[in-house]
Amino acid sequence: MLGPHGAFILASYAAMALIVGGLIVASILDHRAQLRALADLEGRGVRRRGGDEA
């Protein structure tokens, strides 16, 4: 179906899926880790003095 160079085509799509998939998974795990850390600190009663700074 993909001709004599099918392996190169499949390898390209697999590489793209691996790179983009890795980026998505890393982003989700990082976000969850920050949410946990924030909940942990707030659970110990640590609060900001106010303001919306990043």
Partner: protein, 247 residues
């Protein structure tokens, strides 16, 4: 209005509401794009089926340049207006740009072997894209080197703006030098030179990948804002413990 939207707390609210819609739109467009690219588009008269690699290689190349330009625009926001969301945008864009540049290099090499007979040649386009990837790596490394996020943002901004000189070199390398890489075939003054049966899947994939990358950028910006809040609270807690120990 922009100032209000760029307030980190307001940003967290509107980006949180937009993300599910962006994810749904991205998935839908990716499904259509993959169907058109792998099943509907005809084989090229010269490249044969290998043309299907172009449907992911070209969007990756566009995004590699787009995200470096986003970082450069954010760098100006950091240096001129010192806006915290500009710092956040810069930091969130770097890994996405690096990933798409890597994808561009890998898919390009996998296309090059059956078409040119080699994975790699040191021609101007390939070399300048490799330099772009190394610039991304440098930016990512510098973010990790300086602990204070505001100081890191200023240092990274300068490096990003110096490295921006490479962006037009990548884009116009195929016009300025004799390269093995083919010249531009979509963004041309006289219009695209690709047959519509291949141009349509390419454009759908380009929009789908752009939406995916923008979604990831918003998500990573949200994470970065949370990281800074965690840092602020950790410092506050350490100060509180110090005061308690001193009393």
């Amino acid at each position: 209005m922009w100032t209000k939207l760029a307030n980190p707390s307001v940003f967290l609210r509107w980006s949180g509401a937009a993300l599910p819609w962006l994810v749904a739109l991205t998935l839908g467009l990716l499904a259509v794009g993959l169907y058109k690219s792998l099943l509907l588009a005809p084989a090229d008269y010269q490249q044969g089926e290998t043309v299907r690699i172009m449907f992911i290689h070209v969007p990756a190349a566009w995004l590699a340049l787009f995200f470096y330009s986003t970082m450069a625009a954010s760098a100006i926001g950091t240096l001129v207006w010192r806006h915290p969301l500009a710092d956040v945008s810069q930091k969130a864009a770097a890994p996405i740009g690096a990933a798409f540049t890597l994808a561009c290099l890998v898919t390009g090499a996998l296309w090059g072997k059956p078409m040119w007979g080699t994975y790699w040649v040191w021609d101007a386009r390939l070399t300048s894209v490799l330099v772009l990837f190394l610039m991304y790596c440098g930016v990512l490394a510098l973010w990790r080197t300086i602990e204070d996020p505001s100081r890191a943002a200023r240092a990274v901004s300068i490096l990003t703006l110096v490295g921006f000189v490479n962006v037009p070199i990548v884009k116009f390398s195929v016009d300025w030098w004799n390269t093995l890489h083919q010249p531009a075939s979509v963004f041309r003054l006289d219009g695209p030179t690709i047959h519509p049966s291949m141009l349509h899947p390419l454009l759908v994939m380009a929009v789908a990948f752009t939406l995916l990358a923008v979604t990831l950028h918003l998500q990573r910006m949200r994470t970065e804002i949370l990281r800074r809040r965690v840092r602020t609270l950790t410092i506050l807690e350490a100060e509180r413990l110090d005061r308690r120990a001193a009393a």
